[in-house]
């Protein structure tokens, strides 16, 4: 009998849309792309961050970890800071000198509900800005951190931005010098008053005449005393170089005496005065104070009522509480800065992004349509007029992502793009009215593709660009996987988290599925598959990986926080941070009193429903040949299904060894000195299949052992019999 052959040289990923491309899969679970062959390998798992740990320390009290971030403080990965949050605590994972400790930077922070995403982290040259929409944004710079517990970890972070105006500078009362003759020199000190004289005659003292404020000469002042009024203002400069708002004006006034009798010509002359100011000390992070002052704006001078502020001096510390001002008006600096600055306009910001040198913040839950931006290079300096009010269509901001030449603003009902620069101004255009992203932590930049994110109805990619002749496009990557997307708990989209694992070239997306309020299902996009074949689905699923939040270490390893932690009760269950690796175990747990590796993940490959071209025609599949790498002793049990039934038929079990050659040496049985190292080779394992006729057929491999599946083929015959017309009503 002539048999037909259907070949799938390279097995595809999961596709749920019917009819499926027969080279894809119904189930492609817990598989990675094998780097050497391109096939599906089962060699994955995860292990504790602290290698070989015998207890959960330092994570023993950790609950579900809902945000994690890895900040690179030095180039080339010399100093990584792992920050994560659980139970309202922000921790730094202190991993120096072989210790693995937690340093709690903040506690009592808001814990996100099931409809809120975890904290948002933005790395800046001055530290990491962390926002969560409830607590004040903070700036974390976790270095230097000695190992001693006595160093207060709270000092590793400070509130971001300026709270408000500084307290005003408080000038002491100025008691002027008395009349030249007949007056008593009785300088007042104490009681908040000072007499600091500065001779106005250049010959009086070295550098005379160059110092002092106010009027000096009222010798012929027959009218009255002449007054001098000066006002001061102070602003803080932080360690990001930003200058905060200036305090309200506070002034000092004094008068120099006129003639004692008309025509006496004996009024005060010869003295200007210096002033003593109490200046406020700034909050954490303040490195300097800037002082501004007016000219003499009394009615007796020429700038009556003119309270324009000029630069006076910088106090280059945050310690001094008093400052002497003897600078004459002629020596004042330039007027107060053009870059206006004010308090932090978004104290409840949820998201932030660094774009074009400016730090962008959204307004928060209550102000979700406003985007605020700082001055270029000065991330805490926000001008009252530096904001963008987005259009009412599109909804509130759900994420910010700086990519390529644009800032992507994801909104509840659309995606906007901000372009431009601080100097030239920013413009907003709409990229899409129809695609919505409510999963901010699912947004990643994927090489070769663009920005990938989870939208309401699938995973999308923003490809191309808007510069030059580039074409920007919004592509749905899960058109054939909608069944999986449908499983996502709709209201819990914000809990979806993703990362790009460069080592494995995977976009890993973990979503809460099937009603769960935290990620329970992984969707993995294998970038390698894109180049290998146009038609193959590049998706697979992950099950059994308890990801609460995920990030990537410098070397590409994926680190994640457990999504349950000590919420499960007891002290034995998994908790803390884990790393995805090739360890053949799903973490570990305490059994008895010993830390024991968990079982390996269950990997399943169930091929797509194949109909041989015409599903009406009954076929008899005689062989299923599975092309595998000879991984040795792992058992390969193939089972098959027909016509969408739930019950499989099990066939015989092979080992993953060459069928027609000597078995390759295996670990546990190879004899030292006698056996050889042999690279795995691609072999066909042909399973004889016995079933009656089938319109649709698929096979399945399910294993916890090391298998690398490359492709498969079906050998079948058909007599041309059609299936029955239809069920009788």
């Amino acid at each position: 009998m002539i048999q037909d052959n259907y070949q799938t040289p390279l097995a595809g990923g999961v596709a749920t849309r019917l009819p499926q491309d027969p080279q894809n899969a119904n189930i492609c679970q817990n598989l990675i792309v094998d780097k050497s062959t391109g096939g599906w390998s089962t060699r994955l798992g995860y292990e504790q961050f602290k290698i070989g740990a015998s207890s959960w320390s330092p994570f023993q009290n950790c609950g579900p970890i809902y945000s994690v971030h890895v900040a690179q403080n030095l180039a080339s990965g010399a100093r990584q800071s792992v920050l994560f949050e659980e139970g309202g605590n922000l921790h730094l994972l202190y991993d120096s000198a072989g210790l693995v400790q937690l340093k709690t930077i903040r506690s009592g922070r808001s814990v996100p509900t099931a409809t809120e995403s975890g904290s948002w982290y933005t790395d800046t040259p001055y530290g990491t800005v962390i926002t969560n929409g409830v607590d004040r944004p903070i700036l974390v710079y976790p270095w230097p951190t000695p190992q001693a517990a006595s160093v207060q970890p709270e000092n590793l972070a400070r509130p971001f931005g300026f709270d408000g105006l500084p307290a005003p500078a408080d000038p002491f009362k100025v008691v002027p010098m008395p009349l030249t003759s007949g007056g008593t020199y009785d300088p007042k000190a104490g009681g908040g008053a000072v007499t600091l004289w500065c001779p106005s005659d250049p010959s009086a003292i070295p550098s005379g005449g160059q110092w002092g404020l106010g009027l000096a000469n009222n010798k012929n002042g027959s009218d009255r005393d002449k007054s001098s009024i000066f006002g001061w203002s102070v602003s803080f400069i932080t360690d990001t170089g930003s200058e905060g708002p200036t305090s309200s004006l506070s002034s000092a006034t004094w008068s120099i005496l006129g003639e004692t009798s008309s025509g006496g010509a004996d009024g005060s002359e010869g003295w200007r005065h210096a002033c003593l100011l109490d200046i406020p000390v700034g909050p954490d992070g303040t490195v300097a104070r800037k002082l501004y002052r007016t000219t003499n704006y009394s009615d007796d001078y020429v700038f009556q009522g003119d309270t324009t502020l000029y630069f006076l001096d910088i106090v280059r510390n945050n310690i001094d509480t008093q400052h002497f001002d003897a600078i004459a008006t002629a020596a004042l600096g330039q007027p107060a800065p053009d870059i206006a600055t004010g308090p932090l306009p978004a104290p409840a910001a949820r998201f932030s992004a660094l774009y074009s040198g400016c730090l962008f913040l959204d307004g928060g839950i209550q102000d979700g349509r406003t985007l605020y931006y700082s001055a270029a290079g000065l991330i805490e300096q926000f001008d009252a007029a530096s904001y963008i009010e987005l259009s009412s269509q599109g909804g509130m901001i759900t994420a910010l992502f700086a990519h390529y030449t644009d800032l992507l603003v994801f909104r509840e009902n659309g995606i906007d793009i901000v372009r431009g620069s601080y100097a030239a101004g920013f413009t907003v255009t709409t990229l899409s009215h129809s695609v919505t992203c409510r999963a901010p932590h699912s947004i990643q930049a994927i090489p070769g593709l663009g920005v990938v994110f989870l939208g309401q109805d699938g995973v999308y990619a923003i490809t191309g660009g808007l510069e030059g002749g580039a074409v920007s496009d919004l592509v749905n990557l899960t058109v054939a996987q909608d069944d999986l997307i449908e499983r996502i708990t709709v209201d819990c989209h914000p809990k979806a988290v993703a990362t790009f694992a460069a080592e494995l070239r995977e976009y890993q997306l973990y979503v809460p599925a099937d009603g769960s309020d935290r990620p329970s299902l992984g969707l993995v996009f294998h970038v390698d598959r894109l180049g290998q074949a146009d038609q193959l689905a590049p998706w697979s699923t992950r099950l059994g990986f308890p990801v609460g939040s995920v990030a990537t270490l410098y070397d590409g390893s994926v680190i994640f926080g457990h999504n349950v932690g000590n919420e499960a009760g007891g002290t034995d269950s998994q908790r803390g941070l884990f790393v995805m690796s090739s360890k053949r175990a799903l973490g570990s747990s305490v059994v008895g009193d010993t830390m024991t590796d968990g079982p390996p993940p269950t990997s399943i490959y169930r091929s797509a429903w194949w109909s041989g071209g015409d599903p009406q025609v009954q076929k008899q599949v005689s062989y299923v040949t599975v092309w595998l790498m000879t991984t040795g002793g792992p058992l390969v049990t193939m089972r098959h299904y027909k016509d969408f039934s739930l019950t499989p038929v099990l066939e015989r079990t092979y080992t993953a060894q060459p069928p027609d050659a000597t078995a390759l040496p295996e670990l546990d049985s190879v004899v030292l000195g006698a056996g050889d190292y042999r690279t795995e080779r691609l072999v066909p394992l042909r399973f004889s299949v016995a079933h009656m006729s089938a319109a649709w057929f698929c096979f399945e491999l399910e294993t916890t052992e090391d298998i690398v599946l490359v492709g498969y083929e079906y050998t079948y015959t058909t007599k041309g019999t059609l299936i029955v017309q239809g069920p009788r009503a």
Binding site: L74, S76, A78, R79, S96, A97, L99, P144, T145, P146, Q147, P665, V670, V671, L672, G673, A674, G675, D676, Y677, R678, T679
Partner: protein, 310 residues
Amino acid sequence: MSRINRPRVEDGDTVDATDLNSRFTDYNQPNALNAFNTRDAAFDLPQFENPGASTFGFLASYQNNAVIGANDWKHTSIVTVTGVSSAPPPAAPFIVGNAAGAPTPISLGAAGLTVAAGEVLRVYWDLSVYPHWIGTRPWTTGASVDFYNFDKGSGVAMPVGTNAACWVFWLQWDITSNALANFVEVPNQSDFRTDLYGDGSAYGGQLADTMSSSVVPAYIDRAIPDDGLVPANPIQCPVGWRGASGAWYYPKTSGSQTIYGLRVVFTGPMSPNHNTVSGANHLIHSVAWSSDSRLSYAGGSIDVVKQRIG
């Protein structure tokens, strides 16, 4: 160890016990890890060892400070001494101490402080002092060496103080025991008791031996010159309370030295002098008017830091 240079296992290689053992032994070489195994920026604060007591750092291995003098900001219980007028000067200089007369040295511990090769000791001190005198311009008496004669006009001599007379402070150390009963001058420091010309005419020390000394002016004289002449009598100005301070370094390139204590001592008034034959400059006791010279002092402090040179 530095490198592990071993080719990979190739397809067809024998599963060889020796080969496996060699691969594992690669990680277990004697004198295993060295500088080549360390990546850039690999050392952070926890990796640096703190010597001895954990309160000191890796670079600065010792620090201590003490209050010296009569520690009284209001100057109600100060110490006042009269200038040295005996020749030779007394065996012991004036020792900075408290108002009750007890010296205020700094003790460097029961076992002392050892400055080893590759370390340097830095000593800084300060003291509030008030040089003054009795009478009017006593430095212009005939026997004094503290004035120049200028021309008042028509060749008449007008004495004007050189403003060079000073009180000199310096450091002594005790390197015998922590009983602190045997202080001697620190290296490169004179005790200003040398008979410089061998005839008792000048007791003092060479300027080259004043490396731990700090001076304060003993008086201030002010003249009003007019076209090369000094017609009017000069005016004495108070020196007033001022800060005296000093710094001294003791590096060791070889050997070691254990020091048990340090103290500040002083003498005066001293005047400049130079040897017209050898050209050497000296400071000598200015005994002609010293009985009218006074120095008062209040409080101050002394700080000691020991650190690595490299």
